[in-house]
Each structure stands twice: as structure tokens, then as C-alpha cells.
């Protein structure tokens, strides 16, 4: 009986040691993976800070003002003026009877159809 107990404890110690070592290796692997991810995060943060700096540089007010001036024909941008403030009651709301966005509606009219065999549109 006593001999069996000794054998059983020895086996248990070996099994526990095996498990402990395995956990140890897994932890070390996670730490390595983690530090790699941290390095990646660091690199990405560096990139991000450069991109932010570039964004700020490209959006500096003097450049935007120059761009607005250069593209005045197309965009017609002007500084905000006090006349552009409006009261809510001046806003045109849609008439009451109009369907809400996303409602199904019946389509009236001719729907173009694809001609078979790759021919042109009818």
C-alpha cells in the first residue's frame, strides 16, 4: 500500500512539473508576442503622429485660404457672414404628406430592361 502511495506521488510530481513547465513556456511565448505587438503599436503610433502632423500642416488656415481662393470658380467659398444665421422657422420642412425616408413606394413608369445575349440597351 505504502509503495503504491510513493509511486503515485512521484507520478503526480512529474505530471505537475510537466504542466508547470508547459505553462511557463506558454507564458514566455505570450510575453514575446505581446512585446512584438507593443513594438508594432509603437511603430504605428509613430506613423500616426507623423500623419497627424502632416494633416495639421496640410490643413493650416493659410493654405486652406489659398486653396479656397484658387478654386473660387468651382467652389465659391467665402468667409462665414452674419447674414448666414437663420432661425429654425425659416427652414423649409418637407410637406406633411410626404413619405418618410426608407418607406416602400410604388414605381410608376417604364423600367429599362437588359436585353438578352449581351445586346445593347433597347
Amino acid at each position: 500500500m505504502r509503495g503504491l502511495l510513493y509511486v503515485a506521488s512521484a507520478l503526480a510530481v512529474m505530471a505537475l512539473a510537466f504542466w508547470a513547465y508547459q505553462e511557463n513556456y506558454r507564458t514566455q511565448a505570450s510575453i514575446r508576442a505581446n512585446s512584438e505587438v507593443s513594438r508594432d503599436i509603437g511603430r504605428l503610433r509613430e506613423t500616426l503622429s507623423i500623419l497627424k502632423a502632416e494633416w495639421a500642416y496640410l490643413n493650416r488656415p493659410s493654405r486652406l485660404a489659398d486653396l479656397a481662393e484658387m478654386n473660387f470658380d468651382k467652389l465659391g467659398l467665402l468667409p462665414v457672414e452674419k447674414t448666414q444665421f437663420a432661425r429654425p422657422d425659416q427652414l423649409p420642412y418637407p410637406p406633411a404628406g410626404l413619405a418618410r425616408v426608407g418607406a416602400t413606394v410604388d414605381l410608376v413608369g417604364v423600367v429599362p430592361q437588359f436585353a438578352p445575349d449581351g445586346e445593347d440597351w433597347p
Binding site: 494633416w55 468667409p79 457672414e81 452674419k82 444665421f85 437663420a86 423649409p92
Partner: protein, 595 residues
């Protein structure tokens, strides 16, 4: 085991035969057995002691070795714990109130040489000199590269293109180190506020960036504190407003041929400086050197007129005397004040711009800007009370704004606050203060009467400082300032819809040799809007501005500073989200589409 008998028969018999006592044999055997027993026990005890000693030795040896290791290895952070938030930049960003970047960092590369690693030093010197013709000389480089030195700095910062070009030389002795550079993406936009930065201690792998002026220096500790985790410093500035204000003020300064201009826009309740300008300015990315000593520092673009420039600001001070007199119950807006001129006091004569007749009401003293009337009111107040009141508005100390230059903007007070000082200070002569002082004092007067300290850091709510004047006095003061714009000296300042209220001030510039220039004027317009519920104070100061459109150059603030301030308000107020108190024009309103 075989026990030796105590009385072995053979020996007993032999002893009996010989007539000896057989008891002796037994005794001798007992003694032998006892001795053997004792030896065995001692051996076991010694063994146990040895094992115990070994245990103790092992335990102490473990502790000792561990201590030795701990003492000798480089300290390292626990790996797992450091994997969280990491600080990438060594200096935090500075942003405006809406989070737009005013100052940030950029990783660039520095270039250094290690001649003992070089393969072809002569070729490296030649090609480097060709790459940077302005700053590197081939002869000198060759001397360095073939000499005894082991380490040479060549360039602090390089663009990626330049780095690639140096890389293409293919010389192993030319090496790159990372360098974090401070970048101000908006250029001169908030130059005086941000200040600047430079490298302090330099190493191959990193360099310390420290602030040299402005907010960068005032918050140096905070910006470099790793405990902040790289959180940006949010200033109270609004970049859009600052940009629009700079454009308008710069245009106004050129139009009025002024040597310099300053503007401060402040929230009257929170004390936040929304925009602060001093022209001419500079690019903080390439900060100019300060002037050599002996020159007038105000000639340098580095000089911040809004904070450091203390000027006699002139008639803008009149409202302080009137507000105090109303607060003390000496006058009300309709009290008639003697304005018969000139007012003679000793060898001094106080005059008005025009003759306003024998009397004016207090309100009209402000509206017409009568020096004589204000001097009479100040005499009723007295020197002591005037001094205390101006001190409570902050005119006796430098402002507490978070800039390293703030202590240099120290107001100049008269050495002795005599009766004539009291009279001249009441209309803004004899006491010099900065435009920022004026902005804070006007905020206090118009915001309902509580003290405001100017700040550059974004605030969560109003300051609710100590009460200086009552709400009633504050209201009456704003009404008078409004009348200055609607019917007085600042008629160009009436921006339709924003109910501008304010006071002009034109002060002759003092000569460095004593006395005053006749044709050099500091023109100031201190304004607040909207008058029905003041939210902002705007101070505009032009240095030696003049309006040359008419036949005679006009230098009073009503012709110079006021139109500029009006243009600024016209442009800025919509950006601040202030709804004008007018009907919006029909063309700008949204109308239903005619489908």
C-alpha cells in the same frame, strides 16, 4: 544482529576455574556495550547537526546570491506590466480649444560620422560636400574624416530625401540617429503664444527638446511629464478665429501704415484668451535670434506687444474712473460734470480735444471723451481709492497668463501717486499697461463686475471671481460704452447686429528722452460685444497708425483702431457662433425649391 552475551559461558567457566569473580566479566561487557551505544548516538547527532547546518547555509546563500544579483543587474521594468500604454513622443502636443494641433513632434534623423569605420573617407567628404553645399566644406570634412576624432556631429535634422541621398553614398562610417523635432504646422499663426523650442542635451539615440519661450517654456515640465501619458495640452485659443483675426489685423496694420499691432480677444466670463496677436510676428519653426543687447527689444518680431508691451493706453481708462465713481455713489450717468477748460493744476494744464462747453453729463464725458470731466471725477474719488480700484482690476501687477514672458509685462506706475497722477491716470496717462491687462480689466467691468484673470488654458466654466463692482454699475458702464459707438468717437465700430460697445484711446508715444512725440500715437479700441449681454472683449492696438485718406493724416483711434476692430468683429463674431441681432437677409435664407 548477533548480540554479544554479557556472560559468555566459556569465559565464566574459565574464570570460575581460575577462581576469579565472573561478575567482572559481565561489568566489562556492559561497559563495552555502553561505549558503542554512545559512539553511535554521537555520530547520529553530528550528522543531524551537519544537515541542519547545510540547510541554513543553503538558505542564507540563496538570499545572499539573490541580493548580489539584484544589486548588480541593470534595473528593468517587468515585461508584462510595460506592455500597456506606451509613450511614443517625449513631448506632448499642444492643441487649440477644438483639438487642432498647434505644436507636435516629428521623428527625423540626425547625421553623425565615425571616421574609424570609414572605408573611403575622401570620397565621403567629397560627396557630402556636394549634397550640402551651403553648410559643409569638403576640405574641412576631409580633415575631420582622416583625423584622430572618433565621432563628429554633421547635421541635427534631415529630411527623408536627404537621408536617402546620404545613404546612397554607401559609406559605413556615416550613421543616422533618431531625432524628435518640434513642429509648428501653422507657422506664424500663434507664434508669440507658443514661443519655441530647441535641443538641450543631445545623444546619438535621442535629444532632449525644451521650450525656450511662451507656452512651451511655461508648461515645459507638464509637456515633458511622462505621467501625463502624452495627453495634449489644450489651449483656450481658437485656431480659426486666430487665423481670421490675424488676416484682418495684418491688413488693417498695412492700411494704416502702423509699425505694429496687437489684438486680444477674451471671453469675459471664463477669462479664456480666444485669440491673441502681436504683429509683426515670426515663424516658430525658425525662431529668429533675439536682438543684441542695447537695442530696443520692441523692435524685434519676438516682442509680444499684447503681453510684454506696456503702453500709456489713453482714454480707454476713463471708464474705470467713471465706473468707480458710480460704484461709490459719487455720480450717476446723468450727473453734470464741470468740463470748463483748460483745467490748470500747478504747472500742468489739462485740455480736451474740443471744447465741450461748461458742463457735460457723466455719460457724455465718456461719449465725448472729455479729459477735464474725467479728471474732475477722479479728484472726487481720490488717489488712495483710485489706486486700490485699479489694483483690484489687476493694473499694478504683471498678468498671470501662462507664458514665460508674463512677468516682463509689468505695468509702469507713477513713483508717487500724487493728485496730478490721479488726474492723468483717470484718462490713461501716467500709467502704462499691456493690452492684455486692459482686456482683463474690461472683462471685469462688463461681465457683471467680477474679477477675471486671463488664461491661455481651456477652462470648464466661468471664473466667478471676487466682486469688484455691482451688476448695476456694470450694466450702466456697458450702456455708456455702447453710446460711445452709437453716438460718440467710435462710430466706425458699429457692426450691425453685434451691438458693439467700446471706448477709444489715443495716447501720444513718450520719447525715450522724455516728453511726448506730437505725431506718434498708440491708438487703442477696447470693445465688447454684444452689448445686451457681453460675451467677448476685443482690444485692438495700433502702434503709430495713421489714416492718410483725407488731406490731413488722422491718427486718433476713431479713425485707425476702430475700423480695424470693426472689421475684425464682422469677421470673427460669426466664427464664434454669435447670432446677430438682425433679420437675416432674404437671399441667404433657405427657401423651398420650386419643383
Amino acid at each position: 544482529m548477533i548480540r554479544t552475551p554479557l556472560r559468555p559461558l566459556a569465559r565464566i567457566l574459565k574464570a570460575r576455574e581460575d577462581g576469579e569473580d565472573p561478575g567482572l566479566i559481565e561489568r566489562e561487557n556492559r561497559r563495552k556495550r555502553r561505549d558503542a551505544d554512545r559512539d553511535r548516538k554521537r555520530l547520529r547527532a553530528q550528522g543531524r547537526l551537519l544537515v541542519l547546518g547545510l540547510c541554513f547555509f543553503a538558505a542564507y546563500a540563496t538570499i545572499g546570491v539573490r541580493m548580489g544579483i539584484l544589486a548588480n543587474v541593470e534595473p528593468a521594468e517587468p515585461k508584462v506590466a510595460s506592455a500597456g500604454q506606451q509613450i511614443v513622443t517625449q513631448r506632448a502636443d499642444i492643441t487649440d480649444r477644438n483639438g487642432r494641433i498647434l505644436a507636435t513632434n516629428l521623428v527625423t534623423r540626425s547625421l553623425y560620422a565615425q571616421p574609424h569605420l570609414m572605408v573611403e573617407p575622401e570620397r565621403a567628404a567629397r560627396e557630402l560636400a556636394a549634397l550640402f553645399p551651403d553648410e559643409m566644406d569638403e576640405e574641412r570634412l576631409r580633415g575631420w574624416f582622416t583625423g584622430e576624432r572618433k565621432f563628429i556631429w554633421l547635421r541635427r535634422q534631415m529630411s527623408p530625401e536627404q537621408m536617402q541621398a546620404v545613404h546612397d553614398i554607401g559609406e559605413p562610417g556615416l550613421l543616422f540617429g533618431p531625432r524628435e523635432m518640434r513642429l509648428y504646422p501653422n507657422g506664424p499663426l500663434a507664434a508669440h503664444i507658443l514661443g519655441g523650442s530647441r535641443f538641450e542635451k543631445e545623444d546619438v539615440n535621442a535629444a532632449e527638446v525644451i521650450g525656450t519661450a511662451g507656452v512651451e517654456k511655461a508648461f515645459d515640465e507638464y509637456l515633458r511629464d511622462p505621467a501625463q501619458g502624452g495627453a495634449p495640452l489644450a489651449l483656450s485659443l481658437d485656431m480659426t478665429v486666430q487665423s481670421a483675426a490675424r488676416e484682418v489685423l495684418g491688413g488693417g496694420m498695412r492700411l494704416m501704415n502702423a509699425r505694429g499691432a496687437a489684438a486680444v480677444l477674451m471671453d469675459v466670463h471664463t477669462g479664456e484668451v480666444i485669440s491673441m496677436l502681436s504683429l509683426p510676428d515670426f515663424d516658430p519653426n525658425d525662431r529668429p535670434r533675439p536682438l543684441a543687447s542695447g537695442n530696443d527689444p520692441s523692435e524685434s518680431p519676438l516682442f509680444n506687444r499684447a503681453v510684454q508691451g506696456v503702453y500709456e493706453l489713453g482714454s480707454v481708462f476713463k471708464i474705470f474712473a467713471v465706473a468707480q465713481a458710480m460704484e461709490l455713489g459719487l455720480v450717476n450717468p446723468d450727473t453734470m460734470i464741470d468740463t470748463k477748460g483748460p483745467l490748470v493744476w500747478g504747472r500742468y494744464r489739462i485740455r480736451d480735444f474740443h471744447d465741450y462747453g461748461p458742463t457735460l453729463s457723466v455719460k457724455n464725458v465718456i461719449v465725448e471723451s472729455s479729459n477735464i470731466g474725467t479728471a474732475h471725477i477722479a479728484m472726487d474719488i481720490g488717489a488712495e481709492r483710485q489706486k486700490d480700484f485699479l489694483a483690484s482690476l489687476g493694473f499694478t501687477k504683471p498678468t498671470e497668463i501662462e507664458m514665460v514672458e508674463a512677468p516682463t509685462g509689468k505695468p509702469l506706475l507713477p513713483p508717487k501717486w500724487s493728485e496730478i497722477s490721479t488726474m492723468t491716470i483717470s484718462y490713461g496717462h501716467g500709467l502704462s499697461a499691456s493690452p492684455l491687462h486692459l482686456a482683463a480689466a474690461y472683462s471685469t467691468i462688463v461681465n457683471g463686475g467680477t474679477r477675471v484673470h486671463p488664461t491661455l488654458v481651456k477652462q470648464a466654466g466661468p471664473q466667478n471671481g471676487e466682486r469688484i463692482i455691482s451688476e448695476r454699475t456694470s450694466r450702466a458702464s456697458v450702456d455708456m460704452l455702447r453710446a460711445v459707438v452709437t453716438e460718440g468717437t467710435a462710430s466706425f465700430g458699429d457692426v450691425v447686429g453685434y451691438e458693439v460697445a467700446g471706448k477709444t484711446g489715443s495716447a501720444d508715444k513718450p520719447k525715450p528722452t522724455g516728453g511726448y512725440y506730437k505725431d506718434r500715437v498708440i491708438a487703442t479700441f477696447a470693445s465688447t460685444f454684444p452689448a445686451s449681454d457681453p460675451k467677448y472683449v476685443l482690444i485692438v492696438t495700433l502702434d503709430e497708425g495713421e489714416d492718410t485718406i483725407g488731406s490731413m493724416p488722422r491718427r486718433t483711434a476713431g479713425w485707425t483702431a476702430v475700423p480695424v476692430a470693426a472689421a475684425m468683429i464682422e469677421r470673427i463674431a460669426p466664427l464664434l457662433g454669435l447670432r446677430p441681432a438682425v433679420e437675416p437677409s432674404q437671399e441667404a435664407a433657405l427657401i423651398p425649391a420650386n419643383l
